[in-house]
């Protein structure tokens, strides 16, 4: 992994003022100030680079600077946290809206937007921060991120189908604007879904290079929501399993294999535009979603102990790639295209007919590509002493009806890997486009 993307480069002293001090920034706690305004310089660099990449999601392109950990702008054409180079850590949370008032829902999104804009820049969640404000009141920031840099934090918001309609009921006057593709995902063969780990009215993805920063973001946003929305479930992820930039090496999943070699990357603007963002005019009822995306989340448990007992030959056969390089079994290196027609001994294809790489490859799925952004997870162990572990799969797609449901239906039925997997959580969210300063996330939906 290139050093410049790592958060451990020492901060440099600069006396540049913070780029956009909040009204209360004076004298208030600012994690960025602790670092001598390094973050401001990085943020500036990000803006400066924006035009050069040519990706529609320019606001979230990588910000490699040797001077410190990345700070990504919160506001932009698209939400950050999608084409942003996948950070190392995740805290993802789904919420149930508990108010029945549309105005309160809007006020929640306003408050969330404001707090997220602050926290992604390394500031506290509220106007005072964790150690200021009235002494007889609880601090408006919980404080565990004091002294930590922004750590590449991105906060990405989404809306679940149940926000628009629940049991046929139009909860907030939004039913007429529900995107046609935003429906509860179907039950796929082999699913063993836990309701308390699935679905949700709202979601927040917090990604950062420091787990404490990601957890701090979700904790403070959940606190802000009390009385308007309640946490339904949340998931920690500790290692990215996808790279979303060519500057990143391909990471490994808990099977020990490179994962996401074929992933869409920020540097492929045509691919991102065609497969990730919802185009203008895609859905006349949901014009508000143009420039946004759909997020599929699946909590996929791996039968770790059983997998570990499989011979290397079986492991590579099931994946269809070598464990060392990630090269397709038909030869070459990691990025060599697999030759699905190549025959091996016994007149059997050298990449097995049920190999994961064959079934998931775009060539065998009408050219469909996903922007995957998943994370490994270990939630302790089960009563039987097995690791409760796997992949928290996340994919951003332009339309789940073309870009996820057919693929997953096929994989569930025929993928050799399914034998070692069990899907225990599932959700689909519409991810609105980015907000401009002064707007709240998803504002067009309520306009």
């Amino acid at each position: 992994m290139p050093d410049q993307l790592r958060p451990d480069a020492p901060p440099v002293e600069e006396d540049a003022p913070a780029a956009e001090p909040s009204p209360r920034a004076r004298g208030r706690f600012s994690r960025r100030r602790v670092l001598g305004a390094t973050g401001a310089g990085v943020a500036g660099a990000a803006v400066g680079l924006a035009g050069g990449i040519g990706v529609a999601g320019a606001a979230t392109v990588p910000t490699p600077t040797p001077s410190g950990p990345p700070v990504y702008p919160f506001y932009g054409e698209h939400q950050a946290g999608i084409t942003t180079p996948a950070q190392d850590r995740l805290h993802f949370a789904a919420f149930d809206v508990t108010t029945s008032s549309r105005a309160e829902l809007v006020s929640l999104l306003q408050d969330w937007t404001e707090a997220a804009a602050r926290m992604t820049q390394g500031e506290g969640a509220g106007e005072y921060g964790p150690t200021s404000g009235p002494y007889d009141a609880p601090p408006d920031d919980t404080g565990e991120a004091i002294g930590l840099p922004a750590s590449g934090l991105t906060i990405t918001f989404g809306f679940g189908p149940s926000l628009f309609r629940e049991s046929g009921r139009d909860r907030f006057g939004l039913a007429a604007r529900q995107p046609a593709a935003l429906r509860r995902l179907p039950l796929f063969p082999g699913d063993n879904l836990d309701e308390s780990r699935s679905d949700g009215d709202l979601c927040i993805q917090a990604c950062a290079d420091d787990p404490q920063v990601a957890v701090h973001a979700i904790r403070n946003l959940a606190r802000i929501a009390f009385g308007r929305a309640a946490m339904r479930w949340s998931q920690l992820g500790f290692g990215r399993t996808s790279s979303t930039s060519t500057a990143q090496v391909t990471a490994r999943n808990l099977f020990g294999f490179k994962d996401g070699t074929m992933n869409l990357k920020a540097e492929d603007p045509a691919g991102v535009a065609g497969h990730v963002w919802v185009p203008d005019g895609a859905d006349p009822k949901a014009a508000w979603l143009a420039g946004g995306s759909y997020l599929v989340t699946r909590r996929i448990n791996m039968t770790i102990e059983i997998w570990d007992r499989q011979p290397l030959s079986e492991q590579e056969r099931v994946i269809g790639r070598t464990k060392a390089e990630g090269a397709p079994l038909s030869g070459g290196g990691e990025y060599t295209q697999p030759d699905f027609a190549m025959m091996g001994s016994g007149q059997q294809p050298i990449v097995a007919t049920d190999a994961h790489v064959r079934l998931a490859h775009p060539d065998n799925n009408g050219g469909v590509q996903l922007l995957r952004r998943g994370y490994n997870f270990v939630d302790g162990s089960t009563a039987l002493g097995r690791l409760d572990a796997g992949l928290f799969f996340m994919a951003y797609v332009t339309d789940p009806r073309t870009h996820y449901i057919p693929l997953q239906t096929k994989l569930s039925r025929t993928d050799g890997l399914s034998e070692y997997l069990q899907h225990t959580g599932s959700a689909l969210f519409a991810v609105p486009p980015g907000a401009k300063p002064g707007e709240h996330v998803g504002q067009a939906l309520f306009a």
Binding site: G27, S132, T303
Partner: protein, 404 residues
């Protein structure tokens, strides 16, 4: 091939009892990031700096405020004690007597904020190094900005009334508690278990409504309200829950019922402690921050042990306690409302709405003249109650700062 194994629900950790009243005058001086707050006094803030944010350099001999005027509205004085004595900072009204706002116990090297709402007028700032004397004073002016609001510290009568009313409520509840306990103890000693079981949750309502007051007497609470899970090894278990287990032994494996004489011992001990509580509350008085902290503490109790079904492990009558804690918090809040409405009307509206929402959820769990047992409440209803408790407790945590 794969046997699905859901994560088992881990047992809830035993939470320490919360003692909200302890915070009223606590001397917990938390260090702040001085390297960070020092920036506040630096000169590069420029002309756009917030004129309502002032800094105060307090030493043993000087009290230097960064400005002598501010526009009316919400002011923040960030006070840094650079001296060697414990300091205090005051904003006094034009008469030099009435305290508009104060921050106490600023230890050497510590920085602390005083946040208050000030209307236009003349004031004095004052530091009090060593916490004695009239302090080092300087005139301070607040100019009309059109942005203002109601004065802080200008509602002395309302405060006095609120404090008096709350003391009366506590006396009234301890009266009922004492009478009820006498009745309960009598039935229990006489072996009339069904009468004792019926009385138990009803009498405890009066205890739970004023629980933070009882807890503020550090010796009474462990003798009276300790749960078995709270005990240290070697500690003798007495009080409500010891008797509860004897009346509802169903969840206790191999339980041996108490003898008549053992019953009498525990019952007399309970009555003795409740009588002591009653006596001690005859002349009790309160401050608004104690009342407000008490309200918050009651909701903390609900969140910690009532909504989780841990309080009444044997009888499963947790919802009675739940209701009583909410009652007590609501009374405390209602008493402070006249002050709160002047100081922060939006917070008042929010609290009123959320108390009502929580109560309507609780009302759905009523059964007869009481409540369903905890085991009879569905998981989703428990989640709903828990969400409503969070929804109320979060703004309730802002009550103390708003009224004190």
């Amino acid at each position: 091939m794969f046997v699905p194994t859901r994560r088992p629900r881990s047992p809830q950790p035993v939470l320490r009892r919360l003692a909200p009243f302890a915070t009223a005058g606590a001397l917990l001086a938390l260090p702040v990031l001085t390297g960070c707050t020092d920036n506040a006094q630096s000169s590069n803030d420029g002309p756009s700096a917030d004129p309502r944010a002032l800094s105060v350099a307090a030493s043993d001999t000087a009290c230097t405020v960064s400005g002598t005027t501010a526009p009316s509205g919400k002011l923040t004085f960030t006070v840094t004690n650079s001296g060697s004595k414990v300091n205090e900072f005051y904003l006094l009204a034009a008469d030099g007597l009435r305290i508009v706002g104060e921050i106490e116990n600023i230890g050497p090297g510590i920085t602390r904020d005083l946040v208050l709402t000030a209307p236009a007028g003349g004031y004095f700032t004052a530091c009090k190094p060593g916490m004695v004397g009239d302090g080092i004073r300087a005139p301070f002016a607040v100019a009309e900005s059109g942005q203002d609001t109601t004065a802080d510290g200008n509602d002395g009568e309302l405060v006095a009334v609120a404090n008096k009313n709350y003391a009366a409520y506590v006396r009234d509840q301890t009266d009922s508690l004492l009478t009820g306990t006498e009745e309960f103890v009598k039935a229990y000693k006489a072996g009339d278990d069904s009468a004792a079981r019926a009385l138990y949750p009803q009498v405890r309502l009066h205890w739970e409504r004023i629980e933070p007051v009882a807890e503020s007497f550090g010796d009474l609470d462990p003798k009276t309200d300790a749960r078995q899970a709270d005990l240290e090894s070697g500690q003798r278990w007495t009080g409500w829950h010891r008797i509860e287990k004897d009346l509802w032994p169903a969840r206790a494996k191999g339980y041996e019922a108490l003898s008549t004489s053992a019953r009498a011992t525990y019952a007399d001990d309970l009555l003795k402690n409740i009588t002591t509580l009653h006596d001690r509350t005859r002349t009790i008085s309160f401050t608004t921050d104690q009342i407000a902290n008490g309200a918050r503490g009651l909701l903390d109790e609900v969140a910690a042990t009532k909504v989780t079904g841990e309080e009444e492990y044997w009888s499963r009558t947790d919802l009675y306690d739940f209701q009583a804690n909410v009652d007590g918090a609501r009374v405390a809040y209602e008493g402070l409302r006249p002050i709160l409405q002047q100081r922060d009307a939006a917070l008042d509206t929010q609290l009123d709405t959320r108390f009502t929402a929580l109560q309507s959820l609780l009302d759905r769990q009523r059964s007869g003249d009481g409540f369903k047992l905890y085991d009879q409440v569905s998981k989703s209803d428990v989640k709903g109650l828990s969400d409503a408790v969070n929804a109320l407790a979060e703004p309730l945590s802002k009550l103390t700062a708003a009224v004190s």
